[in-house]
Symmetry: C2
Subunit: 490 residues, 2 copies
Amino acid sequence: MKEDKKGGEDKGSSTKEEIRTLREKLMAQQMLIREKGLPIIVLVEGWAAAGKGTLISEMISELDPRFYNVVSPAILPNREERYPFLYPYACAIPENGKIMFYDSGWMEAAVRKYLHRDITKEQYKDRIRSANEFERQLRDGGYIILKLFLDIGREEQRDRIALLRSDRETEWRVSEDDIWQHSEYDLFRSTYEEFMEKTGKTVEWHVLNGEKKKASVRDALKLLVDAADKALAEGRYCGKPFKENFPLLKMPRLSEVDLSLCIDEEEYSRELKRLQSRLAELHNIIYRKKIPVILCYEGWDAAGKGGNIRRIARPLDPRGFDVMPIASPEPHELARQYLWRFWTRLPRSGHICIFDRTWYGRVMVERLEGFCSEDDWKRAYNEMNEFERQLTDWGAVVIKFWIHIDPDTQLQRFTDRQNTPEKQWKLTEEDWRNREKWSEYEEAIDEMLRKTSTENAPWYIIESNDKKYARIKTLKIVTEALEKACSEHM
Amino acid sequence: MKEDKKGGEDKGSSTKEEIRTLREKLMAQQMLIREKGLPIIVLVEGWAAAGKGTLISEMISELDPRFYNVVSPAILPNREERYPFLYPYACAIPENGKIMFYDSGWMEAAVRKYLHRDITKEQYKDRIRSANEFERQLRDGGYIILKLFLDIGREEQRDRIALLRSDRETEWRVSEDDIWQHSEYDLFRSTYEEFMEKTGKTVEWHVLNGEKKKASVRDALKLLVDAADKALAEGRYCGKPFKENFPLLKMPRLSEVDLSLCIDEEEYSRELKRLQSRLAELHNIIYRKKIPVILCYEGWDAAGKGGNIRRIARPLDPRGFDVMPIASPEPHELARQYLWRFWTRLPRSGHICIFDRTWYGRVMVERLEGFCSEDDWKRAYNEMNEFERQLTDWGAVVIKFWIHIDPDTQLQRFTDRQNTPEKQWKLTEEDWRNREKWSEYEEAIDEMLRKTSTENAPWYIIESNDKKYARIKTLKIVTEALEKACSEHM
């Protein structure tokens, strides 16, 4: 491990002076960081007993408490197993203008689980890939990320662990896991090094010498102050779109879809009953096998999303599913990376979550209404593909539906809503305005379907001029996907 | 258990017809409930295998998914033990205009824990009292609460459990706990009855016959439709304030406080060091003994809250505490009962949470700026006392500080902030406006201190014209309180 050389040895009083100066600088930066709404992530990783907590304490000591937060795996409920790998870290990202300190994070979660053999080599590689994606997405979304690794040698760790264990007041701080880490010091060292090598390209790592406490505090503060200075000078970063080679499924254009498809009443009743009853059985198995299921609904206004969702929800045990209606983001959601409000709404494993509208708003309404920059929505195709792959890595079934109708059918349904008092609330001014932009939307949707239908998270176009036909088709797709998942998941 | 007689026997097709009519009525009510922003809680309690899930399924089957949610202890992470009794239920309350179905709730949590002997008779009584307080507070805040108990006889339960266990697909649905409940059927029955008797005054219970599925669905729907009708006709309820006999501590008026108190530099440095080092030790013990600690800061603008909080936070392990800055509520917070945003911010046991401003905004800024009705803020004294008692029931140390200065000192600090570029961000127009209302605020604060300083959650007035004096006094109070808690908590 090559340490960052910041400025000589631990010379006591002069280091103390430098720390004071840096703290003052950081205090002065607070106001500007807040004003400019820059979000900062400080990830502090390192050995057990390396002093991560102390380092964070020293870094925050003069900060306004409204300005930062500290999060640590110990604080987060131990539910990672029921959620995707990155879940606790993604849920904790800071809002604009704030600093979040992670007292160990995704590096430790990947390395430790791997060395514990809780995950396979393959899964470990996936975690490394996910970590890179996560950091890049945040950086491209304007987050400043500082990654620190607090290093101590094997003898130093041995002495510190012994010291902690010798005192009744501190012995509980040394866990079984820490002792195990010490016994496998070399294995850990090479794995940490490999992890840093493989995740150091997008956002670099800084190795600090944890054996020299003051110097490491000074170095960490200097890195933070410099990173903030740079961001304040250059302004908020916005990543450029780039092409990733996701294997994409071929999708038809919306104009090619046959909307005359329909079903007769008798077949509808029979199939509805059959499929719902099968879905109820599958829900049981899903629950028992702890398979997470994410169903995504997008579609034209008045296409029949609500009724379609109700037919899926009807046979499900209400304890095991949730419908998440997605409206415009609230202020606290706008103040964070755009996927945050979806991360925080993910179901536990074994549960079904139905998203009524989704993250794809980014490349539809947000694109067309100018709620984000062109780079933002162009980057989003790839980011959403990555996000969904992280979900399927975790074992989730992810299915996306585009509920499709033609403009005449929409007009007819709008008019019907307008003339039926109980349905008027479903129709808003915005629906009429969106309707006027039909062709722009169609173009955006075609692009979305083309760029984000992946094998692990495919799009299905559901012909919904005949709502009953649409419901049966959706039910079939869902039951088939769950059959498959249940049979693969032993 | 006396069942609600709603309308004769389970007559098959006619009951089916009634259910259809009621569902249509509920669908029509949806829009109005949403428009008027009425929040509805449907609590479904009852025996294991009584069919609670199915009942909820039947109730929601025609509802728009944007309109309701279902929550159940199985869905909530199993963290009740690290949080107050009511925490999972309070965090899940619906926002205005929505229905939340609880698939078992605070009744089951109280009764089962008690019969399991996880809690004492005394704690069980506290839970009954808390449940009553919780329901009353929500009702007074405009929530519609419908409490259902789904009843089945001993033989029926035996048969249903046997049936579930006979099928490989459903046997996992019967837990050890369910079998134990069945073996203690009579004990459970009398305890459920007692619980309902003791919690039926503010919000009544409805016992439904779970052996007659259709009739119970019809009855539940009828109760919901009637409750919604009533609320739609009468408008949102707002509870009247009433006097509770909380044992209150005598507090001086602010005008009587001696603000000339100060400390010399030498004593300050010595005491700061001593107290912070003691606090660090205590934090270790707190963490180990899993004692939750809640420190509440209120005070005049520029009184020195921030610096005071920093001196408390300095010696704490950043993994074990959080500072929660409380700003004006966000839209999603305004859409729920006012204590919700504090419930959701409570620390886990063993952690320290420092609230930088608190729920007392209700009786200060919200009162004076007219952000809530007179009944609302007058009721709040009692509601906040109850809330804090629920926290101390859980074992929390709750301490409240009023950081006090006089108007001249404030003016001096405002002027200083105005003239110091790094401090300007701390001073807003609002601060000047609040200053003009000093005497109104003083009156409100005096009333607050008089009505909410309880033995379990006392207020301390901190003289802060000399900020250093204030810091030492606060540190002393905190360390003493923690010493006491650590010695009582074996």
